[in-house]
């Protein structure tokens, strides 16, 4: 699904990613954890093609295609989705119009005709029900006046609508209370199929209680310094990151 080799990237001339290696196969859930400033958000932004970040080295393929040469919108059409840590408010653009445009642009890319209006409304309802997002939000401007929890639920709703093959959840748990967290995680789990993959980027173990990872990575100073099974997340929760960092530094000397 996704293969990253020696990925290096910078923002405003400052190097953040210093050689990332990561392989995500279909059906897998990967968790990327790490202390503040380790490069977690940079990594997700680089993968979805944020123009503020420059890739300075390495390569990445997505479903066998060169990911880094694609525009942000092409990556989306190919099936890459990111749930934003801070979903953006877009005054004056209604959720319905936003979703209709997004879906039909993807269909255009795939050589499909636009979705018929009735079919689209049915589709919206089905996905809304899945993440328990009230119908009233559809006529509102994108994220405008949404609470923190509603914004995150809206992210998962959009994920459900776009049916991506790889979803990156960037700190989706930040600012969520436990009930909202459960609804969001439940949505992600229901969307999960053997053909789709998820990368969960998080500080805390909490979200991983609900979205069970197959593989856990620790990112530190722009590199993945440890990769293990789900038990690593629990251990990090208990012992913090210091021991992993120490282990890494000792191995380098």
């Amino acid at each position: 699904m996704l293969k990253i080799e020696n990925l290096e990237a910078e923002i405003n001339g400052k190097q953040i990613l210093k050689g990332i290696n990561l392989e995500v196969n279909a059906g897998e859930v990967h968790a990327i954890m790490g202390p503040n400033g380790s490069g977690k958000s940079t990594m997700s932004n680089v993968l979805v093609g944020h123009p503020a970040y420059q890739v300075t080295g390495g390569k990445a393929t997505f479903k066998g295609k060169d990911l880094l040469s694609m525009s942000a919108e092409e990556r989306s059409h190919e099936g890459l989705f990111m749930s934003f840590q801070y979903p953006v408010e877009i005054p004056g653009v209604s959720m319905t119009n936003f979703m209709r445009t997004a879906i039909n642009e993807k269909r255009k890319y795939l050589g499909l005709p636009p979705m018929a209006p009735t079919e689209f409304l049915k589709f919206i309802k089905e996905k809304r029900d899945m993440v328990k997002l009230d119908a009233k939000f559809m006529n509102r401007s994108v994220n405008e006046g949404f609470s923190g929890g509603e914004k995150k639920r809206n992210e998962i709703f959009q994920m459900a609508m776009l049916e991506p093959s790889l979803s990156i959840l960037d700190e989706t748990d930040s600012g969520l209370d436990i009930d909202a967290l459960r609804i969001v995680a439940d949505g992600v789990n229901r969307l999960k199929t053997p053909e789709t993959s998820v990368i969960v980027i998080t500080h805390y173990q909490r979200l991983l209680d609900y979205i069970k990872p197959d593989i856990v990575h620790v990112l530190y100073q722009g590199r993945i310094i440890k990769t293990a099974g789900p038990e690593l997340a629990l251990e990090l929760e208990e012992r913090g990151y210091d021991w992993v960092i120490k282990e890494f530094e000792e191995s380098r000397n």
Binding site: A72, E73, M82, V88, I90, N97, A102
Partner: protein, 448 residues
């Protein structure tokens, strides 16, 4: 005074012709207009109010003028396509600055006592409707274009709605600019609403060919006590057009007036709006959109005079400037002594899409009463990068995302348009404009 002198000479040489093609009160005011033009001249950019728009320069070329009122055939069939889908309007036409009846104009019967038609005809046959109003608001004792317009205007449009009469059906006045030579057009519109009267008037300004036009437009609106008026002034011409418009509104007690100035396609435009509250409890909603690219220029100046207590004014002007276009907005709100309980809000927001586009904005608040609620705000910025990226991540291509953001930006103003079919049409027109499908005015064909 060399530019003005040219026009003064034209008038002196052609006075008989001008008056022959006009009537009544329109002719009676020409002496005064002559004196004012000679005294104050045409507005130039050394005046603060015209800092960004040197209107006097526009008068320099040797414009043709149809003072002899020669018949200038206009293809109304084309214009008829301008009709707003699902909006049944009472249609009227001005061929350049002459009122033109046409077979295509709908002929449904207006309520008793309503006059809608040629201003010249009204001045001739119904002086009782025109004489107490024409020229009363248009202030010629200042630099502006009221004097030159009053000097040369021979016809135009008059709407009179008597006390208590409500016109459900909107009136649409379509001006078609069409000529064999570059032409100066002096258009005059007079709107008088009696007590409790209600009307909606949509003005559409179109150019049917690629010639240059200089339009002077003076609109006087008397909104009687408890009356309601919606006035939409839509300019959709092309880059060779120069337009300078002055709108004067007097609002009686309890009246509600909504004005929308929509500049979708133009060359260089200066619109000035003067509103005075002459009775308490009146409300004004004054809005505008300007969409400009290439080297287009749009300048809106508004002056809202809160003379009496308990009135409300809300202003919202939004500009989207592309390429090396320029925009200017100056909004003055004067709250006079004794105008207590005034509520006034003025907002001007602008997006410059390129580094070359320029916007000049100047809010001005003068308050001489102590119990008032007034605010103003002006911003100049770019499209929201974060929103753009968010949309692209969801698969919306950058161009489309930019278009949606621009449409959303001006949509706030369009959303205030109360006539739903017109609102829908404006959304479509603006969308077409942003998509570059209205690269030049195709006359009313573009409206479909």
């Amino acid at each position: 005074m060399s530019v003005e002198k040219g026009y003064i000479d034209i008038f002196l040489q052609n006075r008989a012709l001008v008056e022959k093609g006009s009537a009544g009160i329109m002719n009676s005011l020409r002496d005064k207009a002559f004196d004012c033009l000679a005294q104050y001249g045409l507005p130039h950019n050394r005046l603060e109010e015209y800092l960004h728009t040197d209107v006097s320069k526009w008068f320099e070329p040797d414009w043709g003028m149809n003072l002899a009122r020669l018949d200038m055939p206009v293809d109304f069939a084309q214009a008829f396509k301008c009709s707003v889908p699902n909006l049944s309007t009472q249609l009227y036409f001005l061929a350049n600055d002459a009122f033109a009846s046409s077979d295509t104009a709908s002929r449904s019967i207006l309520p008793d006592g309503v006059f809608a038609g040629s201003l010249k005809q009204a001045a001739l046959e119904r002086p009782d409707l025109t004489d107490g109003f024409y020229g009363r608001l248009a202030d010629m004792d200042k630099p502006g274009i009221a004097a030159v317009n009053t000097l040369f205007a021979q016809d135009g449009f008059m709407l009179y709605v008597p006390d208590g009469v409500v016109l459900d059906k909107p009136l649409q006045l379509i001006t078609l600019l069409s000529s064999k030579v570059d032409l100066m057009v002096n258009r005059r519109i007079l709107v008088v609403l009696g007590r409790g009267a209600q009307a909606k008037l949509l003005l559409c300004d179109h150019a049917l060919d690629a010639n240059s036009y200089l339009t002077t437009q003076v609109i006087e609106v008397f909104a009687g006590q408890d009356s309601a008026l919606e006035l939409y002034d839509l300019e959709e011409t092309h880059t060779a057009n120069l337009r300078v418009s002055e709108l004067y509104v007097s609002q009686g007690a309890g009246s509600r007036v909504a004005v929308d100035n929509l500049t979708l396609h133009n060359g260089r435009t200066r619109n000035t709006v003067f509103v005075t509250f002459d009775g308490r409890g009146a409300e004004l909603s004054l809005n505008g959109i300007a969409v400009a690219d290439k080297s287009q220029h749009v300048d809106n100046m508004t002056f809202v005079d809160h003379r009496v207590a308990d009135c409300t004014s809300n202003e919202l002007f939004k500009y989207v400037l592309d390429d090396s276009s320029t925009g200017a907005f100056a909004g003055k709100v004067l709250v006079r002594e004794g105008a207590q309980n005034t509520s006034s809000q003025q907002t001007n927001r602008n997006i410059c899409l390129t580094r070359e586009a320029r916007m000049f904005t100047q809010p001005q608040l003068e308050i001489y009463a102590d119990d008032v609620k007034c605010s103003h705000g002006a911003t100049v910025g770019q499209l929201d990068d974060k929103a753009l990226f968010y949309m692209r991540q969801r698969g919306i291509p950058e161009q489309e995302a930019r278009m949606m953001l621009m449409l959303a930006f001006v949509g706030e103003v369009i959303g205030k348009v109360e006539l739903e079919p017109l609102r829908d049409r404006l959304y479509r027109l603006v969308e077409k404009r942003f998509r570059g499908e209205l690269t030049q005015c195709e006359g009313c064909r573009a409206c479909r």
